[in-house]
């Protein structure tokens, strides 16, 4: 590790902190229906959309209606995306002549993008036409992100409202989220990215002849427009196979910095939106602090693991020592312009959130360096998290934390003035347990089936890690991978598709049930016996609950993968 590396990590962290409050203030206005700077331009467009879709802007929805609207919208999106993929060969914007996407792959990819996972079983530049990338995948980069955000807003309204039957209007929230938050930022960022070197064209792939006379075909496309929303919406699906490690998708250190700031920006700002909506910004900062501590712990472990380098290479007299002339460390699967610090930072941030974009190959991380992204996702991606899903995931843990605190002192737990009863705790446990059910269940299935065992590219414990990471990533709607695994098979496309579906929707429904039942409750004024949820004691308790829950559930599985590999590596074993 170097001083410069830590300075870069510190600069990044300070930018995220600085953005949280102003961006939170803006989003609060957007979701409260107040006028914003952009209203004069966007309000007419907003009205047109409501008219076309037949939406009554003033109509409020019960949590069940809100959930049903979300599910129908996701289903419609799935069908359209599947159709575009299957028909791309006969549709326009296909200069590379891509053929129709195969059925199980189209199924997997459609679920993947509708659920904000962006797991990619395919190589984009050899599979997807420009039309599929734009009118198929980019659309879901916007709307799956917006769906996550508005669900979090609905839960926050559940805390903020008293004796209410409704949580807002899904269609209005969704439209406002896309128009006022996602689209303006994406336009500005996309143009910045082009300026910094990202392609934005509809050209055929470039054919060049190198100085040595060899032919090289260089893939092109409308990269920047997809890249901006890919990061802002914590989607993470690359325009190219190498994702944000591809020099066209992340040309330099500045675009890299902007990309990781975008990943955390909405998740961090939503903690502030939460604080504002429940009437006490300190409540938001307490949640932010929990996230911040877990984020820093993750960065430190990955950075240390990667900077130490690979002992097997040390034995071969390879120079992995950092100096003024090289970053050193474990450079397999990393890019020179990012080196170790920015790769470690990106890996941590993309899995704290449910982004899943990568600027280095996670499969080639050191054992403990690869363990951190896995654990981040297993904990539910609640560290700033996927846009929206991070906040609602964290608030579910908060409910569990106050419940445990209540048990300790023998009082009915309350959070933000709402009594937490058996129903909320049951729903919270359901939402939390659905993740390990899918991750561990499918991993176990894959390790006993020949079709599952055919997947891993690496031998030994690392092969098991590849399987475990795949189902962790899919269930967590992350989308990053230990990418050596051959996932484009009927077995993996189907099981990973189901894992993505379970991880998204089976968590959302109990969460919205909590929101609905909280909204209906009265607010109890705080008394001397109320456990304060805006102080350091609560922050510590919540971190403990998250660590213990995750530790108990996943420790055995993680032991079989990264932990064993780490010990074997230090003993000099190769597979």
């Amino acid at each position: 590790m170097t001083v410069n590396g830590w300075i870069q990590i510190a600069i990044y962290s300070l930018i995220v902190i600085a953005l949280t409050k102003p961006f939170g203030a803006y989003m609060t206005r957007v979701f409260s229906g107040e006028r914003t700077l952009l209203s004069p331009v966007l309000q007419p467009l907003e009205r047109v959309i409501y008219r076309i879709c037949g939406i009554d802007e003033t109509e409020e929805q019960h949590w069940v209606t809100y959930a049903v609207a979300m599910l129908f919208f996701s289903a419609a999106g799935f069908v359209v995306l599947y159709g575009i993929e299957r028909l791309q060969a006969v549709l326009p914007f296909n200069p590379a002549g891509q053929s129709a996407v195969e059925q199980s792959l189209a199924f997997n990819t459609s679920i993947s993008f509708v659920t904000n996972t962006n797991w990619q079983s395919y190589v984009p530049e050899t599979t997807m036409s420009y039309l599929t990338q734009m009118a198929g995948l980019t659309v879901h980069n916007f709307v799956s992100a917006a769906t996550g955000i508005v669900l979090a807003i609905a839960l926050v309204r559940g805390f903020a409202r008293r004796s209410a039957r409704t949580l807002g209007n899904f269609w209005v929230d969704l439209t406002r989220c896309v128009l006022y938050v996602l689209l303006p930022i994406s336009i500005a960022v996309a143009l910045f990215f082009v300026w910094q070197g990202m392609p934005q064209n509809l050209n055929a792939y470039a054919q060049v002849t190198t100085l040595e006379g060899a032919k090289q075909v260089i893939a092109q496309g409308p990269v920047a427009s997809q890249e901006a929303i890919k990061m802002l919406g914590t989607n993470g699906g690359g325009f190219f196979n190498a994702n944000s490690a591809h020099p066209y998708e992340n040309p330099n250190a500045i675009t890299n910095l902007v990309q990781i700031v975008l990943i955390f920006s909405i998740g961090a700002a939503l903690t502030n939106v939460f604080g504002r909506m429940v009437g006490n910004q300190r409540q938001g900062w307490a949640i932010f602090a929990v996230m911040g501590v877990l984020y820093l712990a993750g960065v430190a472990v990955v950075y240390e693991a990667e900077a130490s380098g690979n002992p097997a290479l040390k034995a071969l007299h390879v120079d992995q020592t950092p100096s003024a002339l090289q970053a050193g460390g474990n450079m397999e699967g990393k890019e020179v312009r990012f080196g170790i610090a920015n790769s470690a930072l990106f890996t941590t941030v993309t899995t704290d959130a449910s982004c899943g974009a990568v600027n280095n190959m996670h499969d080639s991380l050191m054992p403990l360096g690869g363990m951190v992204p896995m654990v981040n996702i297993m904990l539910g991606e609640i560290i700033f998290g996927g846009v929206g899903s991070g906040l609602y995931g964290m608030l579910i843990f908060a409910i569990l934390a106050v419940f445990i605190a209540g048990l300790m002192v023998g009082r009915t737990p309350e959070y933000l003035g709402k009594k937490i009863d058996a129903r909320e705790v049951k729903m919270a446990m359901l939402a939390i347990l659905i993740l390990p059910f899918s991750i561990l269940g499918f991993t176990a299935l894959a390790t006993v089936m020949p079709a599952g065992l055919a997947g891993p590219a690496n031998n030994g414990p690392h092969g098991f890690s590849e399987i475990l990471y795949a189902f962790t990533s899919a269930t967590g709607n992350n989308g990053s991978a230990f990418a050596g695994i051959s996932a484009n098979t009927p077995f993996y496309n189907t099981t990973l598709g189901l894992a993505m579906y379970i991880g998204r929707f089976l968590m959302i429904v109990p969460m919205l049930a909590i929101a609905g039942s909280l909204a209906g409750k009265k607010i109890v004024p705080a008394s001397a016996g109320t456990f304060p949820t805006d102080g350091s004691l609560f922050v510590g308790l919540l971190i403990g609950v998250i660590a213990i829950t995750g530790g108990l559930i996943y420790f055995p599985a993680v032991s079989l993968g990264p932990v064993v590999e780490h010990l074997a590596m230090n003993a000099g074993a190769h597979y």
């Binding site: 410069n4 870069q8 600069i11 879709c53 209606t65 049903v68 129908f72 919208f73 190589v123 659309v139 980069n141 896309v178 689209l183 994406s186 996309a190 143009l191 082009v194 910094q196 070197g197 392609p199 934005q200 064209n201 050209n203 470039a206 060049v208 100085l211 040595e212 075909v217 260089i218 893939a219 092109q220 409308p222 920047a224 190219f240 190498a242 490690a245 250190a253 500045i254 380098g309 290479l313 390879v318 120079d319 002339l325 090289q326 970053a327 474990n330 450079m331 397999e332 990393k334 890019e335 020179v336 080196g339 920015n342 499969d363 690496n458 030994g460 230990f482 074997a568 590596m569 190769h574």
Partner: protein, 201 residues
Amino acid sequence: MIKQIRPAVLMIAVMTVLTGLIYPLGITGIAQILFPHQANGSLIQKDGKAIGSELIGGNFTSDKYFHPRPSATTEPDPKDPAKTVPVPYAADNSSGSNLGPTSKALVDRVKADVAKLRAENPGAPVPVDLVTTSASGLDPDITPAAAYFQVPRIAKARNIPQDRLKALVEAHIEGRFLGVIGEPHVNVLKLNLALDALRNG
């Protein structure tokens, strides 16, 4: 409940037009006007022909050029499309090696590369980026250490004094942004173009 189906269908149609067509095509139009070089892939022309991209690494194997990092990219096998064959710097099929840290294949590959590099520059430590594949397989850069390491070989092949080559490398090191962000690196294609110019001039 059923009432929600109509807005669901119409909303996805509206969003497809807005965020899937108007947005990317609009950005394409503006980008083509404001930043045509970058928007079209930052291609480098020499004598009127494209020889590569500033941003995309290309393969160099001759002793007379600086070599890029090893690349793990592949292409379909011409004899059997179901299989793949290694084709370094295949810029239409980006990929890393995805070899884990305890992989025997990784250790064997590095061992072979180290042996070759130590033969061309005995005694000097081998910089790690010269024996590890990049994440994209298209890394356009090497570290300054990796560029300096190759100077003796190129000096011999081109019959140019090592000091001139070292000065050339130094002039092509791109430092950190504001001295802080990123890592110092050397763009291999730009360095090799300058190397050719050196000989001619």
